[in-house]
């Protein structure tokens, strides 16, 4: 009770998670790699992790591609100027032994997670948890009954050692290094969680991966791989946070999902990086016959974020749903939260719902692609985007691309951008709410699609964080 009560009270008092984390003392590191990303650096990283040859070769191939591929021209210049890799720490191992017992984690490290209620949420609502600090997983634990059913939840490095054949089948094959930052990720990846769910196994409560960046000027490149075998089900939650940092840090993670025939994977991200983090996350899923992949991407924190959860509907009857919530709150904040769906087989269907709120000079962007290849007969896709712009300095852009190569497909798209309706505010004010309360309530209602699907503990804190986001940095409108 104590922990949750503390955090809840702090948030009630108007203290953001980044401020909560900022009270902690910095964590000591046992290894740090900094400077230009060269072949030597990549080889050293691979040696530190005692990787097999195939993984070192994969890293070196990715580095080669990173050097060859052009710098994306679709990113704002100020973002590119602040991704100066020579200045970043590309690998930071905290001086902590990994454990599956919070009591064995040193108090100065544990306090980061306790400040955010993570151990308590794990005990109440999760079937497993992997917690990463900087470049390494420092805590991992799954419920005994899952292990007995053959579910594998491991730090990515350990999975590479223990299950090389399984990992090799999927690792960077779902999302190959096709653009510069995906290639950089391939060269420098460290940490992240590997999950394998055996055929027919349904994991009723979520498994979570929680990622923290503790220091300024750091790059984090965790790799999450979820393989759901035939007819299985898993809900994976990914959370990210960081204290207020003195300069920019850079997150370039990757999530790969493979849903085999009839499997269902739900992947929820609650991204609440602090305002000095530039967030780049490469997310792609492949759905086989009759499989379902559901992405929920709540993009709340960070100064700039570029995330486009994607699903390739490879098998007949496969489905995907991609729900995005974007909050761009603050001058110069750029938040791109898009979606991509490739209909690659007959009778596939997709639904994309994207909601954004921009305030105090922030820019929210939806960029999306729906592609139906010739022969993907009777594909169905519907995309809806709604944007609220809360003041005169903020912006909202909706940029969808529908590309249809089959005459039996039906692809539809609709979008609306506007301000909070005066009628709704007046209605709530007649019921005794102040104007600010009314606006907060409308904003929360607007994004309830995301919070509804989360465990109660999580949703409650998230709601407060979002309300705080708007109360602390000025009035909602």
């Amino acid at each position: 009770m104590g922990m949750r009560h503390d955090l809840y009270n702090l948030i009630e008092d108007g203290i953001t998670p980044e401020e909560v984390l900022s009270k902690n003392t910095p964590v000591r590191r046992s290894v740090e790699i900094k400077g230009e990303v060269t072949k030597d650096v990549v080889e050293e990283l691979s040696k530190i992790k005692r990787e097999p040859d195939w993984m070192m070769r994969l890293r070196l191939r990715s580095l080669e591609l990173f050097n060859k591929l052009p710098t994306p021209n679709w990113l704002p210049n100020w973002v590119l100027d602040n991704i100066n890799l020579e200045d970043y720490i590309s690998y930071a191992r905290p001086d902590v032994n990994r454990s599956s017992n919070w009591d064995e984690i040193p108090p100065e490290v544990r306090q980061y997670y306790e400040a955010l209620n993570i151990p308590e949420i794990e005990a109440r609502a999760l079937m497993g948890l992997g917690a990463q600090l900087d470049s390494e997983i420092i805590y991992i634990n799954i419920r005994k009954q899952l292990a007995e059913k053959g579910v594998v939840v491991l730090p990515m490095e350990e999975a590479v050692q223990k299950y090389p054949d399984l990992v090799k089948q999927y690792f960077m094959r779902v999302f190959p290094p096709e653009h510069k930052f995906a290639a950089l990720h391939g060269a420098l990846w460290s940490g992240g969680v590997f999950v394998y769910v055996p055929p027919g196994v349904r994991i009723e409560a979520p498994i979570e991966g929680f990622f923290l960046i503790s220091n300024a000027g750091e790059g984090q490149f965790e790799h999450t791989l979820v393989v759901a075998d035939k007819g299985s089900y898993i809900h994976y939650i990914e959370g990210c946070s960081a204290p207020r940092l003195s300069k920019y840090s850079f997150h370039d993670g990757m999530v790969e999902i493979y849903a085999h025939e009839g499997a269902k994977v739900k992947f929820t991200t609650v991204q609440n990086w602090s305002r000095n983090v530039i967030n780049f996350n490469n997310k792609r899923a492949i759905a086989e016959r009759n499989a379902e992949v559901e992405w929920v991407e709540a993009s709340i924190g960070s100064v700039a974020s570029f995330v486009y959860p994607s699903t390739i509907l490879k098998g007949e009857g496969a489905k995907t749903e991609i729900t995005g919530i974007t909050i761009a709150n603050g001058k110069g904040h750029v938040k791109e939260n898009g979606a991509k769906v490739i209909h690659d087989a007959p009778n596939t269907s997709s639904k994309v719902v994207n909601k954004s709120i921009s305030a105090n000079g922030g820019t929210a962007v939806y960029k999306g692609v729906v592609y139906v290849r010739r022969g993907a007969r009777f594909a169905r896709s519907h995309v809806t985007c709604d944007s609220l712009v809360l003041d005169g300095d903020s912006k909202a852009y909706t940029i969808p691309h529908d590309q249809v190569f089959d005459d039996t497909a039906v692809v539809t798209h609709e979008a609306y951008t506007g301000r909070i309706s005066e009628d709704k505010i007046n209605y709530l004010r007649t019921r005794g709410l102040t104007e600010e309360e009314a606006k907060s309530l409308i904003v929360l209602g607007f994004i309830s699609d995301v919070t509804e699907g989360l465990p109660f503990e999580y949703a409650m804190v998230l709601n407060r964080v979002i309300m705080l986001e708007f109360s602390k940095y000025g009035k909602v409108a």
Binding site: E178, R374, H401, D402, D407, A409, V411, H413, A415, G418
Partner: protein
């Protein structure tokens, strides 16, 4: 009016340097216009007049850059509103062009003012036309614009300045064979109103772009378009609406038909700038895919730079007849092909019937050629 030499020099410098199009989007998205097809087109510099078009039906005729008819409507020297730095195709257009023709339409004109931009030549010859039309303040004008390609490559630019309080009814009909680039850029003054009807038909690679800049307070544009692609055509129709003035309003509806092995692209872009407070925009598109080898694409974009917005919306559909419709029609003895034919006929005639009666002369000619195109497939 001759092209100013400094503009021509700048255009020459840029024509081989800058790209046809800047892509600042995700790596998944490439070009909708196959610009490489324009590389084979060779500038003629306006030296090949070739076969002249029939000019009886028109008030103004410009062919391969030469004014053939309509001297009496020519106005004074005006500034050219496009700049070669915008894109390679515009730089090439300005390199290839000898003259720009300014036309002034004063007062109310009940009948259609009919302007023909025609080009033709050998398959790889590039011919260019450019006209600037000024509609006086408070005038009410019916302008019928035809862009007709008779072979060879073409670039056609029409700049229209609509004065304060003026009303322009604009009918544009564009039909092409080889690669063609058309740009219609309309700038509207305060309280100006434009009702635009556009029909774009076929072409190996037809890039048809319309820009509406709602500059003055209270300006409005209501645009209805029909794209038609058959055979191996590739038609990229793009409408850009910029809300610069306050309390401006835009509405754009596009219907597109892709038959045979054609690719038809509808791109609509509505932007409410930070100065365009209390404006509204609506972009709607439906691409009908009428064959298993046809391709339909939609890119409806809205960008809102202010919270002081009345509303911005878009919707798009890419589809053929659905199973229920097909079943319904089959039960009445129609094959899928016949059902598709009916839908196409209905879309075309429905669109033509919706065009303002002021254009009945032009619409009748367009109807005839579209129907013979549909029947001849």
């Amino acid at each position: 009016m001759l092209i100013p030499s400094e503009l021509r020099i700048k255009a020459r410098e840029l024509a081989n340097k800058i790209p046809y199009q800047l892509i600042k989007d995700s790596p998944t998205v490439k070009y909708y216009t196959q610009w490489n097809l324009f590389d084979r087109c060779i500038e003629t510099g306006g030296n090949t007049l070739g076969k002249l078009p029939q000019s009886n039906d028109y008030d103004v005729v410009i062919h391969n850059g030469e004014l053939i008819k309509g001297v009496e409507l020519l106005g004074d020297q005006v500034n050219i509103g496009i700049d070669p730095s915008e894109s390679r195709i515009i730089a090439r257009h300005l390199v290839n062009l000898r003259e720009v023709y300014p036309i002034v339409i004063k007062g109310d004109v009940e009948d259609e003012v009919k302007v023909l931009l025609s080009y033709g030549g050998e398959q790889n010859e590039l011919n260019s036309n450019h006209v600037i039309i000024n509609v006086s303040d408070y005038a009410v004008v019916n302008l019928a614009l035809s862009i007709v390609g008779n072979g060879g490559c073409g670039t056609n630019v029409v700049e229209v300045n609509v004065g304060d309080g003026a009303t322009l009814n604009l009918l544009t009909y564009s039909t092409n064979i080889n690669p063609s680039f058309s740009l219609i850029r309309v700038t509207e003054g305060s309280g100006a109103s434009v009702n635009a009807y556009t029909i774009v038909v076929n072409g190996e690679m037809t890039h048809h772009r319309e820009d509406y800049i709602l500059q003055g307070q209270g300006a409005s544009i209501n645009s209805n378009s029909l794209e038609f692609g058959s055979g191996n055509s590739r038609v990229d129709y793009m409408i850009n609406i910029m809300h610069v003035g306050e309390h401006t309003m835009s509405n754009s509806t596009t219907r597109a038909i892709a038959l045979d092995s054609a690719t038809v692209v509808h791109r609509g872009f509505g932007r409410i700038t930070d100065r365009g407070r209390w404006s509204s925009t609506s972009i709607e598109g439906k691409v009908f895919i009428g064959s298993s080898n046809a391709v339909g694409m939609s890119v409806p974009i809205i960008m809102v730079d202010t919270g002081d917005v009345n509303g911005a919306r878009h919707s798009a559909t890419d589809a053929s007849i659905d199973e229920d419709q097909e079943l319904y029609l089959r039960m009445r003895g129609l094959s899928r092909e016949e059902a598709i034919g009916l839908v196409v006929y209905d879309m075309v005639t429905g669109f033509l019937d919706s065009i303002s009666a002021s254009f009945k002369g032009s619409v009748s000619q367009i109807r005839e050629s579209l129907m013979s195109l549909i029947r001849g497939r």
